[in-house]
Assembly symmetry: C2
Homo-oligomer: 197 residues x 2
């Protein structure tokens, strides 16, 4: 992971360059592909939720659409969400707000890693610490002056790399600028809700 | 789950009313508590992220602050996030965008269930189907006209209940109106990013 590896692909007879575990040869191929046929850049991600009881839900994630076809995982990912006892649940998993922090953390980190890889810059370690302030009065409808969700989210990055500090700061800035989940949380995203009757 | 249960708490000598698995006696106590001392409504949720390699990250969720104290789970929840091979990962878990859908699904469902419970309305089943449209040109910085995150998210609810359809529609509307994660995705949420140096 910590050095640039070159991997021979026997089937394709091309040299693949790996940086930070990211195949930057393929990354460059994807970008070339999108330039010649922008429709392959369209993705559709999916999830199915099921209420188990009380504050406990399960979300199953399997197939998605991208590059003009539907892809399925070898096995679906199944995640349990629940509330802690103080919020009337039984702690079968993290709660929805915590899942949102997990989504943000991993999205910012992956964006940082992919952009560093694209520039050939080796990153040794990345750690994030996130927290979100919330006031129950919003969710409970007890005050119209309090929002339902996080009032503010804080993300602290710790990055180890032999690259100059200025370069690391640049990748943190690129993570903010390009992370899909940073975008959907910090900017408005339209959500259409329907009820099957 | 499908009927209103009354549970005697031997220690407290009070009758607890459970609807949909939610202890509505405690829910009402929480609201009374907040009315007399609003500071107990303040929560702070937390997550720690660690980059594993390539598109693979791990998020650990354990303690949170709420009702004037820090709470810890009996064991931390550890979630793996990764990209599928077509996005240069190895599928060790759902990706960040899919985690965001899981957060939204569970938050809307729990909000619906808690509000129905508070009104004493029994819900038999809830299922959700979510999808989000995304265009890689945003993340890759290939077009300033394409956003990084989801252009639009669709959520379809399927709810089984003996309650009148109008009532079920009302709870779906309350889920939209009060869900914390619906709020942070559909409205702007400030995110402060720092880099420890």
């Amino acid at each position: 992971m910590n050095k640039i590896n070159r991997v021979e692909s026997k089937t394709e007879q091309v040299e693949h360059k790996l940086v930070n575990g990211v195949n930057v040869t393929k990354l460059s191929d994807i970008m070339d592909g999108i330039r010649s046929n922008p429709v392959i850049s369209k993705f559709n991600f999916r999830a199915k939720g099921k209420w188990i009881g009380g504050g406990h839900n399960q979300t199953t994630i399997n197939d998605f659409y991208g590059a003009c076809q539907t892809h399925s995982r070898s096995q679906p990912f199944v995640y349990d969400e629940d509330e802690p006892p103080i919020l009337l649940g039984e702690d079968h998993g993290a709660n929805a707000g915590e899942y949102a922090l997990a989504a943000l953390s991993s999205c910012l980190t992956t964006t940082l890693i992919y952009y560093a890889a694209a520039q050939g810059v080796v990153i040794d370690e990345v750690e994030t610490t996130l927290s979100g302030d919330s006031d129950l009065q919003g969710f409970l409808g007890m005050s119209e002056n309090v929002r339902n969700g996080y009032e503010k989210i804080k993300v602290a990055f710790k990055v180890k790399s032999k690259a100059p500090k200025e370069k690391v700061r640049e990748f943190v800035e690129l993570a903010r600028k390009r992370s899909p989940v940073f975008d959907i949380i910090s900017n408005p995203t339209p959500i259409e809700i329907s009820l099957q009757e």
